[in-house]
Amino acid sequence: MGPAGFVAVIAGWVTTEVGRQPYTVYSLLRTADSVSPLDAPAVASSLVAFVVVYFAVFSLGAWYILRLMAHAPMTAEPGLEAGDAPIRTAGITPAPALDPDRAIGSDVEGR
């Protein structure tokens, strides 16, 4: 069932975008009247650039997550007070700050 959420979100998105055609603002502004005065090659090259960059960055991110998941769970998870490094409030666990052994590649090149 994992991907079902993604399928639902994307299907909903497609439905709204296709459903409101030929309008951008329903019954007020037509799509044909709201396009930017941009040359086609400008739009094409920026689209290609975004696709390439997003695929590269998301692939690397997914690869890192899978690498992290491949580690066995820690038996004694250290609390936040274990290190005195400042932590980010965004909810990212600064694992490598607390335990350098948990950084990806620490087995390759010790830090």
């Binding site: 941009l38 040359d39 400008a42 960055v57 690397l60 490598p96 700050a97 590649g105 390759v108």
Partner: protein, 331 residues
Amino acid sequence: MDLPTLWAFILAFAVFAYVVLDGFDLGIGILFPALQRGSERDQAMNSVAPVWDGNETWLVMGGGGLLAAFPLAYAIILPALYAPIIAMLLALIFRGVAFEFRWRDPAHQKFWDVSFAGGSVLAAFAQGVALGALLQGITVEGREYAGGWWDWLSPFSLLTGVSVVIGYALLGSTWLIMKTESTLQERAFRFAGLAGIGTIACIVAVSAATPFLEEAYYERWFAWPRVLFVAQVPLLVALVAAGLAFSLRRRHERLPFLLSLALFALSILGLGISVFPDVVPGRIGIHEAAAPEASLIFMLIGASILIPIILVYTGYSYWIFRGKVGHEGYH
């Protein structure tokens, strides 16, 4: 002061806040290749890690505010600056992810260092190019952008692109002086001296070229008796530049950063003198481009609640992370 003018000043403030705040953290990325691997780079990155993404708040506010307050200007400027803006956004992605991946993945740290430095340089350069492309005048027909997709590229926009990279390097190096100690600080003093000379040279070059781009700019600088007032800006730039040189020589730790901020404030004031009261320089005035009064009032209420909140939490986070950055681990 009427509403469009008030909004023009609010947006000018957002642009100033963005340029100086993201300016110093992009500056860290620009200096990165010149820092030694290991402790120096770690410290430099840690010194901006807690604040850099908050600094980009003001980019969102500047862009969103332009769309909401001056929709006509937004519709003309964004297509005109399409290529540099897309390049800036892509560059900011590479630089942003480097803050995390560099620490998570020490085995590929070199790669993420390149991503951080390259992204920072490209983002700064693209911002400068966008500024130059806007100043040199964009082709407008009726209420639409009517130029091509390479119009932004010119000797002047390349000059402003390089100028912004050098100016951000000055902000970054004076920030490092304030936040670090010993060898890294000593290195930052050297960079600040070089970047300071470069920044002053760039300010002189851009200021000398700008009045001749458009008749209106020339009038706004040299018309009598206006020249008596606006001539204070270059005089103040000279004073601040002298103060910067003095403070670097005397090894002040905070003063160089504050004087660099002053240099940027004066530069933006100078831009304002060239451009005001236009929002698309030389083409469209702020009153012509402004949204209906009801929208401006509605947004003003929102802005008067939100901007103080943003300023307070931003100030608080800078206060929490005050002082020297230290040597320890992940931010």
